[in-house]
């Protein structure tokens, strides 16, 4: 495989189809992309108490994400320093220590090695094996933003906030609706026989698929807006390492009115007014856009939508975060969380959870049809002919590579936004992908 030619095609918006099912590409992604990127692992609300932990992966590397006894979040490589056993084999729980079942080496929940059986007899004490200052390998880089815990396998990763750049503006709509922040529930986890990139690209900006892929949820009246083609009135934005889609709100609404329209109760709207900057509020009030799906490169996606949750037509919004966790070039584990403002009224939380379950996640009516498409693409991408086909991902560009329309002038958020359909966002995601897989190891 000629990597230079693959990335040149990708940068030109013509995607060699085999990149969606190619073991050589997957190796490059593992070594050059996932070994260097900030990757989301967990949210602080999943481990609220000292000793709480969850176990999460970056590809094949397992990490314990724990809150230690002093309340500090720690991310530790889940491999015993002695013989390499997985120190914690549960997915979640509460523990002051992790004890390796092989030889009983024991680590405090901040990673420090505290127990080593027969230290004197077996090793001759500190002289043979200096036990002090030994600890499970910490994640090379770890940082937290809005409670979202990210790690990077690159010890020289830039500060997370610098990496997020202008996307942090949009992240707040999902993860900082009040000073209380969000709480995450889940994740649901399931495996799909699809390449991980397809979902990430889709959430970044594929408003074009909604009218047809998701025609069924419109057919059944799950949404108040009767036509999925309403999506073409939305704006697509690219900001920092992220990109996302929005819906156009009805004309004339003020800030509170627009949030009421998507189903937020007044108490939450007041909190949002205090939590968000004037520029963030202006995106909703003056530009008239509400965030929907988005992807933060490489593999964290977010979604916000507002279906009808009962027969009387009550509209309730929900937020979901999801991780496209690569298993191989042809398989992805999806981790899908329901997220809700921690300060929201209980009734809202209940209804928002219901809205989430109906629309997204392992049983969600949107997600079901998405995955069918993505599995099919992955299957098709495996063969010889797929190596001869370049998929056209140039929507919104002229033959000279210029945008066919001007950026949307009334879009008040940072970055660049275009109203209507286009593959600007997917190309933005893919250009970051190309930069990573093209970089020397």
């Amino acid at each position: 495989m000629n990597v230079a030619s693959v990335v040149a095609d990708v940068r030109g918006g013509m995607i060699p189809a085999h990149i969606y099912n190619d073991p050589e590409i997957f190796e490059l992604e593992r070594d050059r992309l996932f070994a260097r990127s900030w990757v989301f692992l967990a949210h602080e609300s999943e481990i609220p108490e000292p000793g709480d932990y969850v176990v999460r992966r970056v590809l094949a590397d397992s990490f314990i994400v724990a809150r230690d006894e002093s309340g500090v979040v720690r991310v530790m490589f889940n491999m015993c320093l002695h013989r390499g056993m997985q120190v914690c084999r549960a997915e979640m729980g509460n523990a002051s220590h992790f004890r390796c079942p092989y030889h009983a080496w024991t680590y405090r929940n901040d990673g420090t090695l505290t127990g080593l059986p027969f230290h004197a007899e077996a090793y001759g004490g500190e002289d043979g094996f200096p036990r002090l200052d030994q600890a499970l390998l910490p994640a090379p880089s770890m940082d937290i933003h809005n409670g979202l815990i990210f790690i990077s396998l690159d010890p020289g990763a830039p500060p997370l906030r610098d990496y997020l750049g202008d996307f942090a503006f949009y992240l707040d709509f999902y993860t900082r609706q009040s000073a209380a922040g969000i709480e995450l529930r889940g994740p649901q986890r399931w495996r799909i026989k699809a390449n991980w990139k397809i979902g990430a690209e889709n959430f970044a900006g594929d408003s074009y698929h909604t009218p047809y892929t998701h025609a069924s949820v419109v057919d059944i009246g799950l949404f108040r807006e009767p036509k999925a083609s309403k999506r073409k009135e939305g704006a697509l934005y690219v900001a920092g390492p992220g990109a996302g889609t929005t819906y156009k709100l009805p004309p004339g609404g003020d800030f509170a009115g627009q949030l009421r329209y998507v189903g937020y109760p007044d108490a939450m709207i007041l909190a949002m007014e205090r939590s968000w900057s004037a520029a963030q509020r202006a995106l909703i009030q003056d530009s008239g856009f509400m965030v929907s799906a988005a992807t933060l490169f490489p593999n964290l996606s977010l979604v916000h939508n507002w279906p009808q949750v009962d027969a009387s037509g009550t509209v309730v919004p929900f937020i979901s975060l999801r991780l496209w966790q690569p298993v191989s070039e042809r398989e992805t584990e999806v981790l899908s969380w329901f997220a809700v403002d921690a300060g929201a009224p209980e009734e809202f939380k209940r209804n928002s959870y219901k809205a989430y379950l109906m629309c997204f996640g392992s049983s969600g009516m949107f997600e079901q049809d998405d995955v069918e498409n993505w599995v099919s693409i992955t299957e098709m991408a495996a063969g010889t002919m797929a190596r001869r086909l370049r998929l056209n991902s140039r929507m919104g560009l002229s033959s000279e590579g210029k945008p066919i329309k001007a950026p949307h002038a009334a879009f008040s958020g940072p970055g660049v936004a275009y109203q209507g359909f286009g593959e600007f966002n997917q190309r933005h995601w893919l250009s970051q992908w190309a930069d990573r897989v093209d970089a020397a190891p």
């Binding site: 084999r89 549960a90 979640m92 649901q188 057919d219 799950l222 219901k354 379950l357 995955v371 069918e372």
Partner: protein, 173 residues
Amino acid sequence: MTARKPLPYTDPAHQAAHQFLVEEAALLDAADYAGWLDLLCEDIRYVMPVRVTTARGAGFDTMPGMSHFDEDMYALRKRVQRLATDHAWTEDPPSRTRHFITNIRTFPNGGAEFLVESALLLFRSRGDTREADLVSAGRTDLLRETGAGLRLARREIHVDESVLRTQNLAVFL
């Protein structure tokens, strides 16, 4: 948990419950979802918790506050309506499914209600190139005797994997 004794297999109530579950499985495998909805009580609660791997003694093995399904009649009707549209791609072409139901135990629950436990193995095959999926689960059902026969008032599906190996739950369990 207190030791409970199931009804003898010769008990007509057990036999009726057994037959209900087998007939229900036949409707699901025939994708007769409208017929399936008719077997549900209006106050149905249909729940499938997310299972998690926890240490023995942790005291829980389901994810707090999160399920794969947590449905009322409105949500189930919407799902069935969707599958009946011309645009539910994930089941068009349809999966070939087989709901294997076994290990059925029936417990009286007072009045006209019975708690029925069963084991379910769902075989799901899509297309002609993909490997088939298996979903194994235990179910606890609340069956209610109504004037029209037994109806399902509550189902809790205790799936046996923490990470599902099927592309979605566009099927009922």
